[in-house]
């Protein structure tokens, strides 16, 4: 019953039938939380990615990828993502609220 209800509810709210692109970006970004905190709100040590300027994020990741910016680990992660994925990550993190602590 609950499944049917959710289906009806989903349709009523005009949810699309496939995962949205922003959900894919959310999924891409989710792995970053181990070091950079939930939604990019680091709780210590690492840079806060939440609310980071989109262009700056993309530039940093490109510099990690090329080696222009030296790193211990970030060059290895950056090289694992396509340019399109880096743009999606930038879009996700720039849209996150910075937690006030």
């Amino acid at each position: 019953m609950s499944k049917t209800l959710w289906l009806i509810l989903g349709m009523a709210l005009c949810l699309p039938l496939h995962a949205q692109p922003d959900k894919h970006a959310r999924g891409l970004a989710a792995s970053c939380a181990a070091c950079h905190g939930t939604n990019g709100n680091s709780v210590g040590g690492t840079p806060v990615l939440a609310g980071m300027d989109r262009a700056l994020f993309i530039q940093q990741m490109k510099d990690f990828k090329s080696g222009a910016r030296p790193a211990t680990v970030m060059h290895q992660h950056a090289r694992g993502y396509s340019d399109a994925e880096i743009e999606q990550l930038a879009g996700f993190f720039s849209a996150q609220k910075r937690a006030t602590q």
């Binding site: 609950s2 989903g10 999924g27 181990a34 939930t38 709780v43 680990v73």
Partner: protein
């Protein structure tokens, strides 16, 4: 007996977690009338890195529209990552013990402290000593269990009292530390490593570093013997050899292809096919398999040890509506805490879509970073991005991943920040 929502709200209220009396009454009345639509319910078994993260993200991403019940037998979260530093002496048990309270308070997750005794996949219900818990979808994050019967002379009771494996952080970690403290200078610590796959590939070699760190300061004449069932160091080989040679020269005797098949607790002897080795502290890691809850649910279908899943949703290939995450999964993915949290998020997102009648993301990408502490301050890492391959239906390592150039204090700081952030991401 069914454990329903009303009962759990009463439990929550009685234990002082929330001032829920009015809500309890309202919900109770609605249930009696039978007109209030029940939200879909996900039950999660196991609140380690994977289970706790799945619980939090199901609530976050469903905007609390999915009810989440989290079953865990332990009162507190004790982190395996960083637990080797308790053996080294730079952390204590308190430093790696965290509360589950925020999961209830901040996210409205209903926690049940109980062990699972059965799973009825047809009825979609989990059995515990405190009652049956029905689910729409079940996530098993059961971690690992040990195949004690593959080592003659060893059993679970001996591990608790005399021969701790300490491969689940907790009382055995504290016991092993005590044994190291009681050992005389000039003594022998023996670590035996089972054939891969096992939980945390670099973990045993990190443990060697931590015990060596403790010996170097307090018992410099002591020796470490490593009996590895594998043909070689299974993770970060060059880095560990470098760390051992630079930081602890002459202390570590590493022996590959040495599978322990028998132990004697009285004489503290470990026996391989070729050799019998005596030690003062005997730390035998038995071969591992998926945690017991996976067996109870009938989802162990790889080598009678691990669970095959669909990597788009982590749904078991053996039973519908049951998802498996973390170390229990058979995959080309490392059995690590970070990986368990990454899998948990893919699973949470997929379940939200599936419950709404949608398809999960067809192209999941996730990442893993594992730090190993080689002293109190220095660490090194292995890092990889993994992506779904549509042809093989497996998760495969993307280009660009790798390990540190060498261990460093800088990476030691990053390891500390990693722990702070992943603990917070899973539990707060």
């Amino acid at each position: 007996m069914n454990i329903d929502r009303r009962k759990f709200l009463l439990c929550a209220s009685a234990s002082g977690l929330l001032g829920l009396a009015p809500a309890t009454l309202a919900l109770g009345a609605a249930q009696q009338l039978g007109k209030r639509a029940k939200p879909p319910r996900v039950v999660i078994v196991g609140a380690g890195f994977g289970g706790a993260t799945a619980a939090k993200y199901l609530r976050l991403w469903s905007e609390r529209k999915i009810e989440v019940l989290l079953l865990e037998r332990q009162q507190n979260f004790i982190s395996c990552p960083m637990s080797n530093t308790v053996l080294g002496g730079s952390r204590n048990m308190g430093d790696i013990t965290l509360s589950y309270d925020d999961l209830s308070k901040k996210y409205g997750i209903q926690r049940i402290t109980a062990e699972v005794t059965g799973v009825n996949a047809e009825k979609r219900s989990v059995r515990t000593a405190r009652g049956d818990v029905p689910y729409d979808r079940l996530i098993l994050a059961p971690g690992i269990d040990f195949l004690f019967d593959q080592i003659a002379g060893l059993d679970a009771a001996l591990a608790e009292t005399q021969l701790p494996h300490a491969w689940k952080a907790g009382a055995q970690t504290a016991l092993l530390r005590k044994q190291l403290e009681a050992m005389p200078d000039g003594g022998v610590y023996l670590l035996s490593i089972p054939k891969a796959p096992y939980r945390c590939p670099p973990g045993p070699y990190e443990r060697v570093c931590q015990v060596a760190f403790y010996f170097k300061q307090h018992k410099p004449k002591s020796k470490i013997i490593v009996l590895d069932a594998n043909p070689d160091i299974t993770s970060k080989k060059g880095l560990f050899l470098k760390a051992w040679n630079e930081l602890y020269p002459g202390m570590i005797d590493y022996r590959p292809n040495a599978q322990v098949i028998q132990v004697d607790a009285k004489t503290r002897t470990a026996t391989t096919e070729f050799d019998a080795v005596k030690a003062d502290v005997l730390n035998v890691l038995p071969p591992m398999r998926a945690g017991k809850a996976a067996e109870l649910a009938g989802v162990v279908n790889v080598d009678q040890r691990w669970c095959a899943v669909n990597f788009l949703s982590y749904e078991s290939t053996a039973r519908p509506n049951i998802h498996v995450i973390g170390d229990a999964v058979a995959a080309g993915l490392p059995k690590s805490g970070h990986m368990a949290t990454s899998q948990a998020k893919v699973t949470a997102a997929a379940i939200i879509e599936l419950l709404a009648g949608n398809q999960p993301d067809a192209d999941p990408v996730l990442a893993n970073t594992c730090y190993s502490m080689v002293s109190d301050k220095a660490a090194m890492h292995v890092a990889n991005v993994f992506r779904y391959n549509k042809d093989t239906k497996q998760m495969v390592a993307a280009e660009g991943g790798g390990v540190s150039d060498k261990h460093s204090d800088t990476e030691g700081s990053y390891a500390k920040y990693w722990a702070q952030n992943i603990w917070s991401d899973a539990l707060r």
